[in-house]
Symmetry: C2
Subunit: 304 residues, 2 copies
C-alpha cells in the first residue's frame, strides 16, 4: 500500500497505538513484579517477552470495542492485557526450536535464545495462566457472570478448537492446505479466534445487544483474514529489519499462502476488499467506530 493511501489512517491511529502500548507496558509491569528469590528468572523471561514490543493490536481492538459501549477504560484495558498475555504466550511457544525455530522476535532474540528452552516453555505456560487470572479478578468487571463468560470464550479461542488447533494445522507438512478455503480455515483458527475474542470482549464487558455482537463478529472475521494476508505479504515482500523478525519463512518451507495462491497483486486487492467489508459491518456504530475503521486500514498497511 502506498504511503499516500496510508497517511490518513495513520494519523488517526498513531495516538491510540502509542497510548495502548504505554498502557499495556504499564499493566504488564504491575502484574509481573520480579520476586527477590531464584524464581525471579521466570518473571524476568515473562517481562522480557511481554514488555516493550509489539503493536498491541489485540488490546487496541478490545478497548476500541469496549469504548463503543461506554465501558470504563480500566476494565477494557484488563481484557486487552489478558488477550496480549495469550498472544505473547503463543509467540514464545511458536518460536521454540521444535516449532518455527525463530531466533528473532520484535527486534530482539527470542526467549529461548535469550534465556533457554525450558524457561521459554514455562514463561509461555505462565502467561497463558496469567490471562485467566487477570480476567477473573473483580477489577476486570464487577459482575462475575461477565468475567466468567470472558474467560470461557478466551480459553476456547486459545485452545484446541482455536489458536492451538490452527498452530497444529500449520505444522502438518503432509496435509498442508493447498486451496484458499483450507488456508482461510487454518487462519480463522490460528489468528482469527483470538482477534475475534478481542473484538467481542468489549461487547461482553458492555452488555451489548446480540445484533451489535453479530456486527462486531463480522468485522473481526474480515479483519482477521485481511490481517493474515497482510502478514503473508509482509513475509514475502517486507524488510526483516523493519519487521523485527525473520521473513521469507513461507517460501523457504515451500508453504502455500494467500500470496502464493493469489499472487501478490490479487492478494493485496483481496486484503483491501476484506477491509472494506470489515468496515461495512461497523455501520450500526456510526462515528464512534472511527478508530476501528482506521485500525482495519492500518492492519493491512504493515510495511512498517
Amino acid at each position: 500500500m502506498s504511503s499516500a493511501a496510508l497517511a490518513p489512517s495513520w494519523e488517526r491511529i498513531e495516538r491510540p497505538l502509542v497510548q495502548i502500548a504505554a498502557d499495556i507496558d504499564r499493566l504488564f509491569d504491575q502484574v509481573l513484579p520480579v520476586p527477590d528469590d531464584p524464581s525471579a528468572l521466570l518473571l524476568e523471561a515473562m517481562r522480557y517477552a511481554a514488555i516493550g514490543g509489539g503493536k498491541r493490536l489485540r488490546p487496541l481492538l478490545a478497548t476500541a470495542s469496549a469504548d463503543l459501549f461506554g465501558v470504563p477504560r480500566s476494565m477494557s484495558l484488563r481484557a486487552g492485557l489478558a488477550v496480549e498475555c495469550v498472544h505473547v504466550h503463543s509467540l514464545i511457544h511458536d518460536d521454540l526450536p521444535c516449532m518455527d525455530d525463530d531466533d528473532l522476535r520484535r527486534g530482539k532474540p527470542t526467549v529461548h535464545v535469550a534465556f533457554d528452552e525450558a524457561t521459554a516453555v514455562l514463561a509461555g505456560d505462565s502467561l497463558l495462566a496469567l490471562a485467566f487470572e487477570i480476567l477473573c479478578h473483580p477489577d476486570t468487571h464487577p459482575k462475575a457472570e461477565v468475567r466468567s463468560e470472558l474467560t470461557k470464550d478466551l480459553a476456547r479461542a486459545a485452545g484446541a478448537h482455536g489458536m492451538a488447533g490452527g498452530q497444529m494445522l500449520d505444522l502438518l507438512p503432509m496435509q498442508q492446505p493447498v486451496d484458499l478455503e483450507s488456508i482461510a480455515r487454518l487462519q480463522r483458527l490460528k489468528t482469527g479466534a483470538i482477534i475475534g475474542w478481542a473484538v467481542e470482549a468489549g461487547a461482553i464487558l458492555g452488555a451489548a445487544t446480540t445484533e451489535d455482537r453479530t456486527s462486531l463478529r463480522g468485522y473481526a472475521q474480515n479483519l482477521g483474514l485481511a490481517f493474515q494476508i497482510a502478514d503473508d505479504l509482509l513475509d514475502c515482500t517486507g524488510d526483516p529489519e523493519k519487521a523485527g523478525k525473520r521473513l521469507r519463512k513461507d517460501s523457504e518451507h515451500g508453504k502455500e499462502t494467500f500470496v502464493t495462491l493469489l499472487g501478490e497483486k490479487r492478494a493485496r486487492v483481496q486484503a483491501e476488499m476484506l477491509v472494506e467489508q470489515a468496515i461495512e459491518h461497523l455501520r450500526p456504530f456510526e462515528r464512534a467506530s472511527a478508530i476501528f475503521e482506521a485500525l482495519a486500514r492500518f492492519a493491512i498497511a504493515r510495511d512498517h
Copy 2:
C-alpha cells in the same frame, strides 16, 4: 511402608480410586472429541496423555472435599477434571527434552515420543486452556461468582507464583536448594499449590466457612509435603516398572531431596508425621472425612 500398615487404608480407598478413574476418563472422553479433519492429531495427543492413566489423586481430593459440603458430584467432578487438565499439561511439558527429557510416563511413551515435540507443546497448552474453559462453564456451578473464584485461584496455582514457578526453581542447577526449608518451598510451589487448589475447590463449590477452608488448607499443606517425600522415596527405592516412569533421576542429577538430606528412614518417619498432622486438620469434619484420611495414608504408601 509395609503392606500390613497399608492394608486398611487401601481397602477404604480402592473403590473411590477405581470410581474416580472411571469418572475422569469418561469426562475426558466427552470434552475431547476427535474432529474429522487434520487437526484431529492434536486432540488425539491430548486424549493419549489424559485418558487411561494416573491415579487421579487431585480429582479425588476435589470430590472428597466437595462431599464434605454436600456438593453434587456432577459439579465436583468438573473441578476434578479441570485440575487433572492442569496436572496432565504439566506432565507433558515437564517430560519434554528441554525439561526433564523423559520418554516414559504412566507406563507408556511420553507425548513427544509417541507424537512429536511440537504436538506435545500444543497438547500441553491446549489442556491448560481447557481447564479454565471447563471451570467457567455453567455446568460447574450455577453461580458465576463461584466459577470465577475457582478459575482465578487455579490460574494462580498453575502459573509463575505456583506450579510453573516451582518447576523453574527445580530447573536451576546452580541455585539448587540445599536445605530442607528451600526444598519445602520449592515443593509448596511445584506440587503444593495445585494440591491445595484441589482440596479448596470443594470448599469453594460448597460455600464453606472460613474456618473449614483454613482446616482444609492445613490438611493440603501437610499432604502436599508428605506426597513429595513419598515421591522422592519412590524415585530412590521404587520399581520403575511398577511406577510406569523412569526413576533414580534425582541421584543421576546429583539433586538434593528430602531423602538425600534426611536419609531414607528419617524421610519415611517425616512423611508419616506429616500425614498424622494432615489428618489432625480434619477433626472438624469428623466421620465424613474418612476418605481424606485414607487418601493421606495411601499417598505415602506409593510403592505400587
